[in-house]
């Protein structure tokens, strides 16, 4: 086998791998990303997305209701709109009134957001950047300017 042929084989193998990887990335990015919504944008949608999304905002003061067993009901607000949420499971340590939260789950046609996972944040001053953006968009942001999302 000549040197040029060998080089060709290697370039071909490399090219095929790169193409396969590019294909994987494109399908991955088109199907497997999670969109983030604030309560106002989510409430404004005529038909909520069927796929799993992230919802971020503040836990509305006084909205936490612990029901049967491990089911917890609460509302997430950005001041302008409020979305009711149900969740079954153990909550993160710092969950409470007026805490910033990011919740993964699906929006039901009934208008209730069923949470699969409440993302744990471990710092009482921590505010996810998406939540800050959502709050600022609705004019309910009372934090420092410019944003300091430690």
């Amino acid at each position: 086998m000549r040197r040029r042929d060998r080089r060709l084989i290697m370039i071909a193998v490399g090219g095929v791998t790169l193409l396969a990887a590019a294909g994987l990335m494109l399908t991955g990015l088109s199907n497997r990303i999670t969109y983030f919504y604030g309560p106002t944008t989510l409430a404004a949608l005529a038909t909520p997305p069927a796929a799993e999304i992230r919802l971020g905002g503040l836990v509305e003061a006084g909205s936490i209701v612990r029901g049967e067993g491990l089911v917890v009901r609460f509302s997430v607000t950005d001041g302008a709109a409020t979305i009711p949420v149900t969740y079954e499971g153990t909550l993160p340590d710092l969950f409470g009134d007026r805490q910033g939260v990011v919740i993964e789950g699906t929006m039901q046609p009934s208008g209730i957001f069923v949470a699969r996972h409440v993302l744990a944040k471990h710092d009482e001053t921590y505010m996810p950047r998406e939540v800050v953006e959502a709050l600022r968009a609705s004019g309910d942001w009372r934090g420092p300017e410019p944003l300091e999302d430690q």
Partner: protein, 663 residues
Amino acid sequence: MTVELGHFALVLALFLAALQAGGTWWGLVRGNAALARLAAPAALAQFACIALAFGALLLAFATSDFSVTLVANNSHTDKPLIYKLAATWGNHEGSMVLWVLILAFFGALIAYGAPRLPQDLKLRALAVQGLIGAVFVLFILLTSNPFLREAIAPFQGEGFNPVLQDPALAIHPPLLYIGYVGLSVAFAFAIAALWKGEVDAAWARFVRPWILTAWAALTIGIALGSWWAYYELGWGGWWFWDPVENASLMPWLIATALLHSAVVTERRETMKSWTVFLALAGFAFSLLGTFLVRSGVLTSVHAFANDPARGIFILGILGLTLGGSYALYAWRAPLLKSHAVFAPISRESALLFNNLFLTVSAVTILVGTLYPLVLEMITGDIISVGPPYYNATVLPLMVPLFMAMPFGPLLAWKRGDLPGVARRLMTVTGITVGGLVVGFALLQVRDGLALLGATLGIFIITGAAKDIFDRLQLNRISLRRSWNRVRGLPRSAYGTALAHAGMGILIMGVACAGNLRSDEVAILGPGETVSIAGYDVRLAETGELQGPNYIAEFANFDVFSESRLVRRLQAERRFYPAEGQATTEVGLHATLFGDLYVVLGDRQGDTDRFAVTVAIHPLVRWIWAGALMMCFGGLVSASDGRFRIGAPRPAKKATTKREVEPA
């Protein structure tokens, strides 16, 4: 006073680093040998200055000197001393000082720890190191000065994030920095080689231990972070594909590729420009990781106080590094001629295959990490690219790589015999198929990914054992003579086998813990029991306790297996008043084949009943055990005697027979 002394020492280090870079460069260009030789003493003096600065900072933290803003913001008198010290690098400013301290230490090591390193290479590498040091010390002084004082010192500090008050996390950043900064040494040597216009076996022999050490430190650093997340964050996750984790995984993948391509460069004097390319990329990825973590452009659970000015500064360093080093590469890399040729089936090709998949994986992760940024800039949509993307892209790329792992070390250099290697792997394949049957039929595992991962893991582990077995000629010569061969094998052979087997163990752990996890959630009062996977977990008692700097609700659990008490566990919910934060301490019953993981949840109203989560994580320990073994393998390889003896002299090299290719 010591704080001002530290501040002054850091400023002095800036000038010494600038001298090390500029003076050496000028001396080399102008042929002024005396000026160029200043590089070594400058590197040592720079190290001494930064060590002084870091020492001053440590002292300020140890004595809780709250007149220093950084200490006031990140420490508290109630904290145990070890965490006061760990707080020094638990924040942005202090961690950057640690970063340059390690850089300067490595600089001093290059200057005085490698007597056989050719002078022209050493001086050039030191000049590049000096430049990196100067830029980073400047970055600290301009945007992240740790020595600033408060006008009025507060009586008490603001505390230190309690989830970070943990032994594993105290040493996690220094290990990662040894990795990142070790990659900067490879970068400096790569620039030096481009500057000189020559890469030879000697170059590769001096760079390889650095790469191996950096890689070993990165491996164990990442593993410690994952272990910490597992027991501290309270839901048993050990990898989240968080941007900050990706920021450490990308340099790790590049470093893994680099350590393999450097083998080819050392042994066969080929793939030279590729090795240099990777050495440049490794450091660029380290810088990118630093940028992602420190600039706050991405949302992550890893909190660092962010400041746009820092982000822009680091972006500037990244731009200069990428632009400068790759411009130099484009100009000088054609000088790095490789003469040796190899067949498509050979050890070289196997290592090239490894490099291809590792770098493509790193790029895939890079795309996933940066895509949200780009999309937000273009469309304004805020998205997150999560585990589903990475699982769908990185896993398919890893499978062929893992399948090839046992083949690589058995293939001959230049021209390998694939059917022959396949025959030698017959036993290995047999054991692997046996393992698959055991998993499917005896252990009743029905999860495809878990079976695939476990099978690949067994294949890799037995393949690594087979490599050593064959090298010792265990079944061909007498045991006594095999025993004599044990000491004769190069350490790099053991290192390879250990690291590969470690990877196999890690894969088995990841596949099983990731796919076979089970959990139960229950509301328990004292005396009540929840059952999972043959364990009965009974809540024995609950109460409150007072720790050194926290108060906690706790619950004691009795764990029964077949009605026999096997373990008493305590799970806690802690509250740290100084920081106003709560944490979860899980109860763990760890065994070789899986962990029982007990989390204390919310108290139900005013009763003494609690929500309790119990989970089984099969083979989860294997993840970190495998990583530890990989790290050990890397260090064994790095200690190989031939790296210290140095490279063959040019005279010897000239006699090496080169394959002449028919035109």
